[in-house]
Symmetry: C2
């Protein structure tokens, strides 16, 4: 499956992990085929969108039969590189960071928080959710020795940019930014920004302005 | 500003709170005008997109001048109904829920967590981030008496659907779902789903498959 030659829309790419999770569940429960209507009901994405998404990968389904679960599973596993574990660093072990550490990412995918950093003496040296918390002073050295290129940023907003600058120098390629700060990075670094206040405000805006519509989820 | 007659794309609507926040900052710092290029640099959205977004609201800017900050501010305040506070309930005071309670939503917008619920005896009766934590048994009664119609769901996944069913009966109109569970709700209820594992997996997918592109953020 050569991904290099295949540029799927970002909106489609964002739904792949969701499809993959559901197909894993189906497979575990022994189901051998699934219709786009069933998929739609389960993942809350309309079936036309599902069929269009799947079409980017070639004709995976058959009319009147639906999709073969085993085939979908091996397809998504390959596509999402599930056989290779991606190591992730978490910076900032406050409430949000601790929630991440306690959350079992490995259950449904091969992304794993391998190391965490904080400056709080009560946290440094501890294990949280089986992950060692190191002092932020060791950031560069440990990222290099562990060869980690993905970071989750859950630090206070006022220090977000300075820590980001250090991450960039330490050869981090992707940052999942949970701080309200908008980060400035070189264009080769990917930042996905999840701003909790903006998400809440966006929900409220939709409720006020689109109150009676039948709704497609916007965030999947 | 009659929002009823104006249907802007959801992708645009999602960026409004972000624009609003930045324009507030500009206004506080005494700046009187701003170009779409400056806006673009600050909010990390390309300027063509900003101009298109703004065009849905009519011609707000002038060529060679940019946008008037005071006008934008009053425009966004009206559009986002910033003069009216929306009360929000938070269900589930674990690490993630506590992070929300300690996060000062009011700083940049008029959405406020007014009440929280949990089943843990160590949390019930306490105040966290100035918000009272009540027992989940009181959910229906308190939502009714406080007239709250928006909820943040930060409970363990196995109880997410049953609590959602109670929220629906209690006349909740919008749910910000932070659990990995996909919720089934009537079509009149809006659910925005933020799945932390999916967000991380999505970032990793993009890093592997779109490694060298100049990047637009996908999550704003």
């Amino acid at each position: 499956m050569n991904q290099e030659s295949m540029k799927i829309p970002q909106a489609t790419a964002k739904r792949l992990p969701l499809y993959y999770r559901f197909i894993q569940n189906l497979h575990s429960s022994g189901k051998q085929r699934v219709s786009s209507a069933e998929l739609s009901e389960a993942v809350k994405v309309d079936s036309a969108t599902i069929r269009r998404d799947f079409s980017y990968f070639g004709a995976l389904g058959k009319k009147g039969y639906g999709y073969n679960v085993g085939y979908l599973l091996s397809f998504f596993r390959k596509t999402l590189d599930q056989d290779e574990i991606t190591k992730v660093a978490l910076i900032g072990v406050g409430n949000l960071g601790t929630a991440f550490l306690n959350y079992n990412f490995m259950k449904n995918n091969n992304t794993r928080i391998d190391i965490a950093f904080d400056v709080n003496a009560e946290k440094v040296g501890k294990k949280i959710g089986d992950v060692d918390v190191h002092h932020l002073d060791e950031l560069e050295e440990r990222l290099a020795s562990e060869q980690i290129h993905v970071a989750i940023l859950t630090v206070p907003a006022p220090v977000a940019q300075q820590i980001t600058d250090r991450l960039v120098k330490a050869d981090i390629k992707g940052i999942l930014n949970f701080t309200p700060a908008r980060l400035t990075v070189p264009s080769s670094i990917r930042v996905h920004h999840i701003d909790l206040a903006v998400e809440l405000q966006s929900l409220v805006y939709f409720l006020k302005n689109y109150p009676e519509e039948v709704i497609e989820e916007t965030n999947s």
